[in-house]
């Protein structure tokens, strides 16, 4: 490439036409105006949000704090919190898009108000965001926060890599957000099948935005997987044998293994599609020996394990929540572990069920159909284990427990419709209808999302030192559950009535009533999101009445509850020695909890590092340059990435020491608080008397 080609035109494909309102101004037809207003409105909300955040941070002079305490932090707890914050921001956008789509379909008899092009962008961004930038960061954040605490570790093995993963994930999310303002996103759905997404049919920037957002996120998840597996394998406290690990850690392990092995096919599929689009290769094109089935296979070899990456951590959270709020040890721990592992392994053997109708022989379809149905067995084991855990337990219907019970009922239904779809014969009838849409939302929303929300309520007091408002949490949970049922149960019926997925408008009047019900459900889900925001606001406002500094508000069973809330930077003043499953419950029952530590030692922790935010920013610049063909930007950013990586290899002074005296002081303050606190019974755990010290309901033992 000559120098002239690199700098001319300096902004690549960027022009005024890339702005969302340009077409509306040039050709003010009614349809253009409506869609232009929606797109411009969305872009304005995003820009306004950015300006307001910028102004507020500047006004309160928080840039320094943001940089030193958060963005450059290598603390697994802070990185975890940042991941969850990212997930919430992205969820707001994806949920509003969902509501817009439901509105369009509700009024879609013979037209509706959204153009087909715009509708296709909506379902593509909704799916892409929900999977890669809501549930993935959410679960990565929760694992980051809770897993090292559960295994008695002070850090993940590679703290700087952890920060880089966050940087790259945030870069991918930002890229999707930028597509709202500049240019258009892909219209190819979240799995963007070629040849539709090839340059012949889609010469614009949409598929490129999608390719590079997924690539950034995929790279980040590969690193995260490696990091978590190493951590769980090598950083466990003495005595924390594999079969003593809390179940959430087990699911984190399985999810991380899946991340390690399932992300490479995505990376390859994205790279090959990019080579097709940018350099005229022929992987998936119609002519010259390209074969789009290669993409379909690669994508679902990633895509199917991916859905278990999404759901396994939530299974872990339900296991913790159900055991804790039933006051019992988890029923069938070993069978839970085996079921989790079985699901992880089976997840690699079923990818073909995503395209039963794409030309394989009946025998191959049968094999994959049976393999898909087999997954129902370990999942069923889990359902029974959770129910037996509750049986004759000391059950409290707190918010996480409401989500868990809602999950059990709804997930069984979603699983049942999955078994139906796993039959190739049935699949031929209902594939590509909204029956499928109902099915995967039925497993993804109650399965993955409810679990993560339960985890958010469960561990929030641990992370911030005060409980969330129970009342607003309950409002939100009920809205979520009812909203979900109203939004998706009608889609089962609509699917059987023949409504194809991704339909922008239809001519069949009998669809309208059910579409209206689904729209109502979507509004309820938006209300649920609103209630979550109100809850956060109310809880922060009343935080002083709900402090749980002692750290054990729910009579928890695993090690994360054995430290103060929020935990100190170093998590554990002294690394605990584990002798049993449910390590903290064992300590409380034997009277060994809240012991004054003997002599504390200096603790070595990783220093802050600007590497994560730097590589995130560089990754965003490379991706943006690639999308818009701004070659000088791509080249300079790539050089910067190499230079940054090399110079980080020359860094030496990467750890800091927390002096023993400081550890001792902080420990004494916490022990004194525990001694002064009143232990509360389970009946009072949602009252402000709960200071985080749990009464032991066993005779002769007190905390």
């Amino acid at each position: 490439m000559s120098l002239a080609a690199i700098i001319d035109p300096p902004l690549g494909r960027l022009s005024l036409q890339s702005l969302p309102f340009w077409q509306m101004l040039q050709h003010p037809t009614e349809a253009n105006v409506i869609n232009g207003v929606i797109a411009t409105g969305a872009a304005c909300v995003m820009v306004l949000g950015a300006i307001v955040s910028f102004a507020l941070i500047t006004k309160y002079r928080k840039w320094g704090v943001l940089w030193t305490e958060w963005l450059t932090s290598t603390d697994h707890k802070k990185i975890g919190i940042m991941y969850v914050a990212l997930a919430f921001v992205m969820a707001a956008r994806a949920l509003i898009e969902a509501c817009l789509m439901r509105a369009q379909q509700a009024f879609g008899l013979g037209g509706g108000f959204v153009s087909p092009e715009h509708f296709a962008e909506l379902f593509s961004t909704h799916g892409t965001i929900m999977i890669f930038f809501v549930v993935m960061p959410f679960l990565t954040g929760v694992i980051n926060y809770a897993m090292p605490l559960q295994i008695g570790a002070r850090e993940v093995t590679f703290p700087r890599l952890n920060s880089i993963s966050l940087g790259l994930t945030a870069a991918g999310a930002l890229l999707v957000m930028v597509s709202l303002l500049i240019g258009k996103f892909s219209t190819g759905g979240w799995f963007g099948y070629p040849p539709y997404t090839e340059a012949n049919f889609n010469p614009g920037v949409g598929p490129d935005y999608w390719i590079w957002a997924l690539s950034l996120s995929g790279l980040a998840s590969t690193f995260t997987g490696i990091n978590f597996v190493t951590t769980i394998w090598k950083e466990r406290a003495p005595g924390m044998r594999l079969l003593r690990m809390p179940l959430f850690t087990w699911t984190a392990l399985c999810t991380s293994i899946l991340m390690m092995f399932a992300m490479p096919p995505l990376t390859i599929a994205m790279a090959q599609l990019a080579l097709d689009r940018y350099l005229g290769f022929h992987y998936f094109t119609n002519a010259h020996g390209g074969n789009m089935m290669h993409f379909v296979n690669l994508f679902w070899m990633f895509g199917h394990p991916e859905v278990y990456i999404l759901i396994l951590p939530s299974f872990g959270i339900y296991s913790e929540v159900v055991a804790t709020f039933s006051g019992k040890t988890l029923y069938g721990y070993r069978s839970m572990v085996m079921a989790t592992m079985a699901i992880a392994i089976l997840s690699f053997t079923v990818w073909l069920h995503h395209f039963f109708t794409m030309g394989q022989s009946a025998d191959i379809n049968a094999v994959f159909g049976i393999a898909s149905m087999l997954i129902g067995i370990p999942t069923g084991v889990k359902i029974y284990d959770w129910m037996w855990t509750m049986f004759r337990g000391r059950i409290r219907f707190t918010v996480p427990m409401v989500y868990s019970v809602g999950f059990i009922f709804l997930f069984v239904l979603g699983g049942m419709s999955g078994i139906l779809l796993a039959d190739p014969g049935v699949d031929y009838q209902v594939h590509n209808s909204v029956f499928l849409v109902a099915h995967f939302h039925n497993v993804a929303v109650p399965g993955a999302l409810f679990g993560l929300l339960a985890g958010y309520h469960f561990w929030f007091p641990k992370a911030f030192g005060f409980r969330l408002s129970e009342r607003w949490g309950m409002v939100s949970a009920v809205c979520w559950i009812a909203g979900f049922m109203l939004a998706f149960f009608p889609l089962y019926a609509l699917g059987l009535m023949g409504l194809p997925r991704r339909t922008v408008s239809y001519t069949e009047p009998s669809y309208v009533p059910l579409e209206m019900v689904a729209f109502l459900g979507a509004i309820l889900v938006i209300a649920a999101l609103g209630a979550l925001l109100v809850q956060l606001w109310v809880s922060i406002k009343h935080r002083n009445e709900n402090r749980v500094f002692v750290g054990d508000p729910w009579d928890g069973r695993s090690l994360e509850w054995s430290v103060s809330a929020p935990p100190p930077d170093y998590d554990f003043a002294v690394i605990p020695v584990v002798t049993d499953r449910d390590a903290f419950t064992a300590a409380k029952e034997s009277g060994n909890a809240y012991q004054r530590p003997g002599a504390c030692a200096d603790i070595e922790l990783p220093k802050n590092s600007a590497l994560g935010p730097a590589l995130g920013a560089i990754g965003l610049a490379i991706a943006f340059g690639l999308v818009w063909h701004i070659w000088w930007m791509v080249i300079l950013s790539a050089l910067a990435a190499v230079a940054t990586t090399i110079s980080s290899g020359f860094a030496r002074d990467t750890t800091r020491i927390v002096p023993a005296q400081q550890v001792q002081r902080e420990q004494q303050r916490w022990i004194a608080a525990a001694a002064a606190a009143t232990a509360i019974s389970r009946a009072d755990e949602c009252k402000s008397s709960n200071a985080g010290l749990a009464e032991q309901e066993y005779a002769g033992v007190s905390a």
Partner: protein, 207 residues
């Protein structure tokens, strides 16, 4: 060395290295995981290649394009570089001194660069014979697999230069040692991948 002092699969530092030997355990485990993930990456491009063998779309095929002599020389170069890196690892483990270590690393680098030179020459020849990746699905798949390995080797060479730079700057400290051990694994891994490429792409292609 007794069994319990082996910290990870592969050549260990050994107890004579004290704390560095212990520190290797976690880092090397993480790197083994990375290699497993990378192996899946290669597995995917191998399967794309095999599935695209017949997709020549009327363009040139393996017999028209591959040159077994050149590829055989590349194989010998890469195998020799694995041997010399092995000598470097032994120099590190038995503390033969920085000069000898850097010497073996330099020989390895020279062999790696020579390999890349031959490989680039192969590609240029293929282009000249009409074997560009835009010609057919088969050639796209070829240029996904073989250059991906070449890119890995290039990355390895850059990493090697950086490590020599780190030795010059810091001597053989913990991070340098762990870096050399990881690069060693990486280098041998690429050797194994090349064996697979040599067999699946070139030998099977010309058989």
């Amino acid at each position: 060395m007794s069994q319990d002092t082996i910290k990870h699969p592969g050549l260990n530092l050994g107890c004579a290295h004290g704390g560095d030997h212990d520190a290797a355990e976690r880092v090397m485990f993480g790197f083994w995981l990375f290699l497993m993930s990378d192996a899946v990456l290669f597995g995917m491009v191998f399967s794309t290649y095999v599935a695209s063998l017949s997709a020549t779309a009327g363009g040139p095929g393996p017999r028209d394009l591959y040159n077994i002599r050149s590829v055989f020389i590349e194989t010998l170069l890469l195998l020799a570089s694995s041997f010399t890196f092995g000598m470097a690892s032994l120099a590190l483990k038995y503390k033969h001194g920085e000069t000898r270590l850097i010497g073996w690393l330099t020989v390895t680098l020279a062999l790696g660069v020579a390999f890349l030179g031959f490989e680039s020459h192969d590609f240029v020849t293929m282009f000249a014979k009409g074997g560009a990746p835009t010609r057919s699905g088969f050639l796209s798949a070829f240029f996904d697999l073989v250059p991906l390995h070449g890119l890995h080797v290039t990355g390895g060479c850059i990493w090697l230069v950086c490590l020599v730079g780190q030795i010059a700057r810091y001597g053989l400290d913990t991070r340098v040692k762990l870096g050399i051990m990881r690069l060693a694994l990486f280098w041998h891994f690429l050797d194994i991948v090349w064996i697979a490429i040599f067999s699946v792409v070139y030998l099977a292609g010309l058989a």
